[in-house]
């Protein structure tokens, strides 16, 4: 059994975004990209744990993005993934979640993919749609909001824990399957320095997007972003000066009662 983890490079969480000259998206210039941290790291971690438990033989990583996305793939390799594939986009290439899933599926289809893992959503556009769209394009079931994967039940199946508004579900699913992870069972590991050095020697293939596109029966349908605005700067914060905590509490309570009228 082999797993494929889809990862997306996103700007670091504390980046200061600017609108791109096109006005349609944010400007990638000068941003530092990381692996879509927490979400995708959790997906990689989960796959590695299954491999360590002997349930999976190999963990492959695939990413769709510009050449610099290599850093995110390398990070996953340093965490312990076996090999990486980067579907390299060119300048100006932009894909919506459906098209992204279509392209990823085109690449994933060519190799073993018993378990396809994605993070719950991307840290930048937050659409959370690629997982389900991947299931559609691969023609296999997909499950979202998963909080744990374990190897139980008949062979060729996995046990998933799923979090819903109504409560927690435990499902037995047969493979192959796409799983979108809400969170992992364990904090993602930090790659150690020796593993970063070792990851340099692991295979990482750059595949030009044209090759993937050529394999698709039809060009991916896509929406195009038209306009992108940054949130308006926040106003209205008011600083309350105080000498000691009890005075602070007193002043805050008065403001909440008399001005905000929430008490």
């Amino acid at each position: 059994m082999e797993a494929v983890v889809c990862i997306k490079p996103v700007p670091e969480a504390d980046s200061r975004l600017r609108v791109a000259p096109s006005g349609a998206t944010y400007d990638p210039e000068g941003l530092r990209y990381t692996l879509n941290s927490t979400y995708d790291e959790a997906a990689v971690e989960e796959a590695l744990r299954l491999r360590e438990a002997g349930a999976i033989e190999k963990v492959h990583v695939v990413s769709l993005g510009p050449a610099r996305a290599e850093e995110g793939v390398r990070y996953a390799l340093a965490m312990g993934a076996d090999d990486g594939l980067l579907l390299e986009t060119g300048p100006g290439d932009a894909f919506d979640p459906g098209a992204t899933a279509n392209l990823l599926a085109g690449a994933i289809q060519t190799g073993p993919h018993d378990l396809v893992l994605v993070g719950r959503r991307a840290g930048d556009d937050e659409t959370g749609m690629v997982g389900s769209a991947l299931g559609e394009h691969l023609g296999i079931p997909s499950f979202a909001f998963v909080t744990g994967i374990s190897v139980e039940g008949p062979s060729g199946s996995l046990r998933l824990r799923r979090f819903t508004e109504a409560g927690e579900e435990v499902l037995s699913v047969s493979l192959p399957v796409v799983v979108s992870l809400l969170k992992g069972a364990q904090d993602p590991r930090t790659p150690t320095l020796p593993n970063i050095l070792k990851a340099r020697r692991k295979p990482l293939v750059h595949q030009p997007l044209s090759e993937v596109l050529a394999r698709l029966p039809a060009p991916p349908v896509r929406s195009l972003p038209v306009r992108f605005d940054l949130p308006a700067p926040r106003t209205g914060a008011r600083l309350v000066e105080y000498q000691n905590p009890s005075e602070a509490a007193e002043k805050l309570v008065r403001l909440l009662r008399e001005e905000a009228k929430v008490l």
Binding site: E70, E71, R74, Y75, A78, T190, P191, T192, P194, I196
Partner: protein
């Protein structure tokens, strides 16, 4: 190879690892350890687990054997979170370097491997109460007795001494011979006759520990002598030649933190109706600080690059260490000034940076000595 200032993807990853570690493990404890002087063993242990210690130990002994430039990139990131913790993390490199450089293959196997297979600390013990700058005049005696030596003397200001399991000690077999009598030994902590003084209470870098090590007829087997009798002085100098550059990077890290704090503050604090960054007196301060920081970083990179190319870098490493540490002091001083009264308060981060930066002008060869070395090296070109 043409010069390039582009870091490789691998270098960026190492930098990323160090910066993540600094942000997650060091920053949250920096103020507390500064206040209490606590030695945050959990941070050092985690640094070891991630491979951020013993950066200079060759891969064949289980280390990562990183080029010096990569070591400097890591050091700057760590030091931007806490100078003191960085000193304690780097101390292993300093202590193990004489073994790297002067040890026989058997000694390297015996002494270096344990540091890579488990978390352990080592100390470099050169300085004595009677003087640090004039290392050729050190007084600790090594008297040969059969196939061992008896070491007697005192080593002071030794980083990580209270926690170290091994010391690299420099002693003289004959004080008459001055430099030519100095010999290096590896002294395990449990050796009878080795004792520790109380931990020093320091101005800055308080997360690091510093203490005196006293040797009282401590018996060290011949197999623990690094190189021959009289080869110790050269070994100590060669060690410091390669560890001086990371001290420059350490100073750059502290200075960078000060400059970043000062920049953010200058944009946010207003006086006379505008952010203080718009007053020219503050803007020109920042302009000078940026120049000093950039120059310091480039000097450390140059020096590290020369060492990595196998070139002699005595002048460059002294320039890097001296300039970066003097600049760090100036940058931290100006950062406090930009913070005004708040800068003087312990609740704000910049006064700690000044206290931490000060040490960089003193240890691993005081800056006065660096200037003498630089002038001597430079003047050789004219004679």
């Amino acid at each position: 190879m043409p010069i390039s200032f582009d870091l490789t993807p691998e270098q960026r990853e190492l930098q990323g690892l160090a910066s993540k570690f600094a942000r997650e493990e060091m920053t949250p404890r920096a103020a507390e350890c500064d206040r209490t002087g606590r030695f945050p063993e959990e941070v050092y242990r985690r640094a070891w687990e991630l491979g951020l210690m013993n950066l200079n130990v060759p891969a064949e002994y289980g280390g990562s054997g990183l080029p010096l430039l990569d070591q400097c990139l890591i050091t700057e990131e760590l030091a931007s979170a806490c100078g003191g913790m960085t000193t304690s993390i780097l101390a292993n490199c300093l202590a193990l370097q004489p073994i790297n450089l002067g040890g026989s293959p058997e000694q390297r196997e015996r002494f270096l491997k344990p540091f890579c297979s488990e978390y352990r600390l080592a100390s470099f013990a050169l300085t004595e109460p009677g003087g640090g700058s004039d290392a050729g005049a050190l007084k600790t005696r090594a008297i040969r007795e059969g196939d061992s030596y008896l070491l007697t003397g005192q080593k002071c200001f030794i980083t990580n001494a209270p926690q170290a399991s091994l010391y690299t000690v420099f002693a003289t077999v004959d004080p008459e011979k001055k430099h030519a009598g100095i010999t290096a030994f590896v002294v395990p902590r449990e050796t009878p006759g080795v004792s520790l003084g109380r931990e020093e209470d320091k101005l800055g870098q308080r997360a690091s520990s510093t203490a005196t090590v006293t040797l009282e007829r401590a018996r060290v087997p011949l197999q623990n002598r690094l190189g021959g009798e009289g080869e110790g002085f050269k070994l100590a100098m060669a060690t410091l030649d390669s560890t001086r550059t990371p001290i420059g990077a350490l100073a750059v890290g502290i200075a960078r933190a000060a400059l970043e704090h000062a920049s953010r503050y200058a944009l946010q604090r207003s006086s006379f109706g505008v952010p203080i960054a718009q007053h020219q007196a503050i803007a020109t301060k920042l302009g000078t600080m940026v120049q000093e920081l950039e120059a310091s970083r480039l000097l450390t990179w140059l020096s590290a690059w020369m060492v990595d190319q196998g070139k002699r870098a005595t002048l460059e490493s002294s320039v890097a260490k001296c300039y970066a540490s003097d600049s760090a002091m100036h940058i931290c001083d100006e950062a406090i000034q930009i913070f005004g009264g708040y800068g003087y308060m312990r609740d704000y981060p910049v006064e700690k940076l000044l206290r931490d930066a000060k040490l960089c002008q003193i240890y691993e060869g005081a800056n006065e000595i660096q200037r003498l070395v630089i002038a001597r090296e430079y003047l050789r070109r004219f004679s």
